[in-house]
């Protein structure tokens, strides 16, 4: 039993490559649950962070500091009356949110959380990701059309035009990163997500800093295009509430509406994962080649525990600062328990880090490695998530023609230029 578990955790290939369906299924379930929880956490974080940007408190009532707000929201949305407009095309109206959701979640099959921590490693990984995530636009278009109403239709037309245009710049930026993977002795690149990160590992540099500033510019292009791809501020024209009330999901309510939100946030995490994989070294910790002594390895493996300890510290601080009024007693206890939970998690992570500090093949070592990979990957993705919120708090919304102008007249030429320059530099500097 223990041996089997060790062999699973220590497997050098993904379950998809190994052809192990049970293990793949477990991974799929873990990722599905993880993404759902991440979306809920993101929902809470967005509301809180946005509120603090805007000198508000945000959710404070449901649970301590509104921690249970996402659950309350989810419950509310599930219990809400599900309205289908009488003039709507019912079949399509019903299917549309599912298209978006399926597209957003299918992408996660190839996201590499670690060298073997992915459901499968496809030969065409990045192509598959771009293709499937571009299917999400079908959900939006059909939703807007099926509502049989003007605002959703305009929203759908806007977002489809927007997503198709930005896909071009996005694809070219991705190609320039893929071009960098071929700069090895064999001269062959790869489209596999794991292969891309391994190429960065071999070349000893994140593609963000490769051929500076070429990699950086390509990354910026992608970072802008991915905001447009996911219909987030300042490119949230498809759901601009001041112009189109709510855009393509104006007529949606209840569970179906929440499926759209779920798909949007899942897509945000997915595109951030692409950016992290392509330019930020994926699962690699900072300076894996510079600070490669076992001692450094140990220091960096303490980071997951430290993060949770810091979160627990914040939670304890919140508990201590809560007014000592009987009205807040339950909230106080709840926050305290939450802090204890975080502290316990931190403790577990510390124990694993210490137990697995010698890089042997024990279960603890494999667990530690896996946790490190997933931690660094998630940390990088989380930075992007925070950026998404920051954008939304800071910037006004672009107008549609300006959006198109930026997409076609600014981003596309720049990404083309970067691609050509990358190719030239790659040939000149082997």
């Amino acid at each position: 039993m223990l041996n089997a578990l060790t062999s699973y955790l220590g497997s050098p290939v993904t379950p998809g490559q190994a052809g192990n369906q049970l293990w793949a299924l477990i991974y799929v379930l873990i990722i599905f649950a993880g993404v759902s929880i991440a979306v809920m956490a993101m929902n809470w974080l967005e509301r809180k962070a946005l509120a603090h940007f805007q000198i508000r408190l945000g959710p404070m009532r449901v649970g301590p500091h509104g921690l249970l707000q996402p659950i309350a929201d989810a419950l509310k949305l599930m219990l809400k009356e599900d309205i289908i407009p009488s003039e709507a095309d019912k079949t399509v109206f019903w299917i549309a949110p599912l298209i978006g959701l399926v597209a957003a979640f299918t992408v996660y099959t190839v996201i590499p959380f670690g060298p073997s921590q992915a459901v499968s490693d496809m030969n065409i990984g990045i192509l598959f990701m771009l293709g499937v995530s571009s299917l999400g636009v079908l959900g939006i278009v059909t939703a807007g059309w099926a509502s049989n109403s003007h605002y959703p239709l305009i929203g759908a037309l806007r977002s489809s035009a927007q997503m198709v245009s930005y896909e071009v710049a996005m694809g070219l930026a991705v190609v320039s990163a893929i071009l960098m993977t071929s700069l090895n002795t064999a001269g062959t690149g790869t489209l596999s997500m794991i292969g891309i990160v391994q190429a960065q590992q071999q070349q000893g540099v994140w593609f963000l800093f490769k051929f500076f500033p070429l990699g950086f510019v390509a990354f910026i292009i992608f970072a802008i295009a991915m905001v447009a791809e996911t219909n987030r501020a300042p490119f949230d024209l498809a759901e601009a509430e001041s112009e189109l009330t709510a855009g393509f999901h104006t007529e949606y309510s209840g569970l179906r509406w929440s499926l759209f939100m779920l798909a949007e946030y899942a897509a945000m995490i997915a595109v951030s994962a692409i950016a992290v994989t392509l330019w930020l070294g994926g699962w690699m910790r900072p300076f894996p080649n510079l600070l490669n002594a076992p001692a450094w390895e140990f220091v960096f493996s303490l980071f997951p525990g430290l993060t949770f300890a810091a979160l627990a510290g914040f939670a304890f601080l919140g508990t201590a600062r809560m007014p000592s009024h009987s009205f807040f007693r339950i909230q106080r206890i709840g926050l305290g328990v939450f802090a204890l939970l975080l502290a316990f998690l931190a403790l577990v992570l510390f124990v694993i880090a210490i137990a697995g500090r010698n890089t042997d093949t024990s279960l603890a070592a494999h667990t530690r490695e896996g946790i490190d990979y997933v931690y660094w990957f998630m940390l990088k993705v989380a930075i992007f998530m925070y950026l998404f919120i920051w954008y939304r708090a800071t910037w006004p919304r672009y107008r549609f023609d300006q959006l198109m102008k930026i997409g076609w007249k600014v981003m596309l030429p720049i990404s083309l230029g970067v691609l050509i320059l990358t190719a030239i530099v790659g040939v000149l500097i082997p």
């Binding site: 946005l50 805007q54 300042p234 949230d236 112009e243 910037w395 006004p396 919304r397 107008r399 023609d401």
Partner: protein, 416 residues
């Protein structure tokens, strides 16, 4: 010119005043416009857009339940894709018949009703009405009352502009300024509440002056507010003025030329942003405004960005006026001698003030009874709204939202 001490009958004197009014057109920077610019024929508002069949034409209703129409404005948009081919405003969803109510109320009883027109600038409305009736009665409020009026009115101007800025930025997609402006507007409302007990519909002034003396510490609080709000205005500007997206969304959007603006009767910051230096506080000073030193900001292009800048400068100028007024507030009575039963002599009067949104005028016809025979309000929002169609033709839907925001309309005043 507005010297009211002459013993002429109100009617004849007012007629004379109207004839001597400075022409707004002469205030246009540089060239003086000839009268041929005053007609709107060149705008060609009814011309068909396309000679051939266009199947993409789409009629959509924006409002009356739409988040960006600032209440219950309904705009019928004729669209080609996203391009606006024409608009038609449908108003009246908030019509309460304020002008008709006036005919059945005594002059004093009607005073609170005017607060409900432009409810974000209730103090200005009250000032205009009280001064119009005072003009009809040939009385003048004492200087101290006028200074209090100026302070409160200018505070209200800042509050109104803050509300405009927040909602306008929200329409364009920037959420955050809304919360900042509402935080700072709160301080103004606190001063109002302390002064007269109400925050929004203040009913601060009475015919002949003010009812309430300033509360203890009023001047100190106003000065504290001045110190508090000046950096806040800078804060709004750091968020927006040089923001690239803000510039792209507002520059060359909803442009209206000076000639068109004058021809349409547009007033206030919208007119000034087109380059017409027309402000009633300077042109026909009322309520001791001639005592104060302040600038009238004007724009160059008449686009949304210029209107934004003009209003931002106006806020700072209002701070200047308040500072001078608070420092120079004289002692003395706050109420002129006004009969208990207000029964003006038969006649008619027009009095206008510079409300935050533009020229707010009251035209009152008295038949000698205790109630006005007819009271007509010239609301700036209503007149400015007429410019919407001119400003958004050929623009995109998103620009309609931006222009509605920049016109700074309040539907309570449009519909009355």
């Amino acid at each position: 010119m507005t010297d009211q001490t002459t013993k002429d009958g109100a009617l004849t004197k007012e007629r004379k005043d109207l004839q001597n009014l400075p022409d707004a057109a002469s205030y246009v920077k540089g060239t003086k416009l000839d009268s041929s610019h005053h007609d709107l024929a060149h705008l060609d508002l009814d011309a068909p857009e396309h000679p051939y069949l266009d199947s993409n034409e789409l009629i959509i209703n924006m409002g009356p339940q739409h988040p960006a129409t600032h209440g219950v404005l309904r705009v019928i948009l004729k669209l080609d894709g996203e391009k606006v081919l024409g608009t038609e405003c449908v108003i009246g969803y908030l019509h309460r018949g304020v002008e008709k109510i006036a005919e059945n109320r005594t002059y004093t009883m009607f005073n609170p009703y005017v607060d409900r027109m432009d409810y974000v600038a209730a103090v200005s409305n009250g000032l205009g009405y009280c001064q119009a009736v005072e003009k009809l009665l040939n009385v003048e409020a004492p200087p101290r009352a006028n200074y209090i009026r100026v302070i409160l009115t200018e505070l209200n101007r800042i509050a109104s502009h803050q509300l405009w800025l927040g909602t306008h930025a929200l329409d364009i997609g920037a959420m955050t300024p809304l919360f900042y402006t509402f935080r700072d507007r709160e301080e103004i409302l606190k001063i109002f509440e302390k002064y007269c007990g109400a925050r929004l519909t203040t009913h601060a002034f009475r015919i002949g002056g003010c009812l309430y003396e300033t509360y203890a510490g009023f001047e100190k609080e106003v000065k504290n507010f001045l110190k508090f709000v000046a950096p806040k205005i800078d804060e709004y500007e750091t968020l927006l003025t040089t923001n690239r997206i803000w510039l792209e969304r507002t520059k060359n959007v909803g442009t209206i030329s000076a000639a068109d603006a004058i021809a349409l009767g547009v007033t206030g910051p919208v007119l000034r942003a087109s380059g017409v230096k027309w402000d009633i506080r300077k042109a026909i000073p009322y309520a001791n405004y001639s005592d104060f030193d302040f600038e009238i900001p004007i724009g160059e292009n008449g686009d949304t960005y210029d209107r934004y800048l003009v209003r931002m400068v106006e806020m700072r100028q209002s701070l200047r006026i308040i500072e001078q007024a608070v420092n120079g507030i004289p002692e003395g009575p706050i109420m002129a001698k006004v009969p208990k039963v207000i029964k003006p002599a038969p006649g008619e009067i027009y009095h206008s003030i510079e409300a935050p949104k533009g020229e707010l005028g009251y035209f009152i016809v008295s038949d000698g009874s205790t109630q006005p025979y007819r009271l007509r309000v010239r609301p700036p929002s209503f007149v400015n709204l007429q410019a919407l169609d001119v400003m958004v033709r050929g623009m995109l839907v998103a620009d309609v939202v931006a222009v509605i925001g920049t016109l700074d309309i309040v539907l309570g005043e449009v519909d009355r």
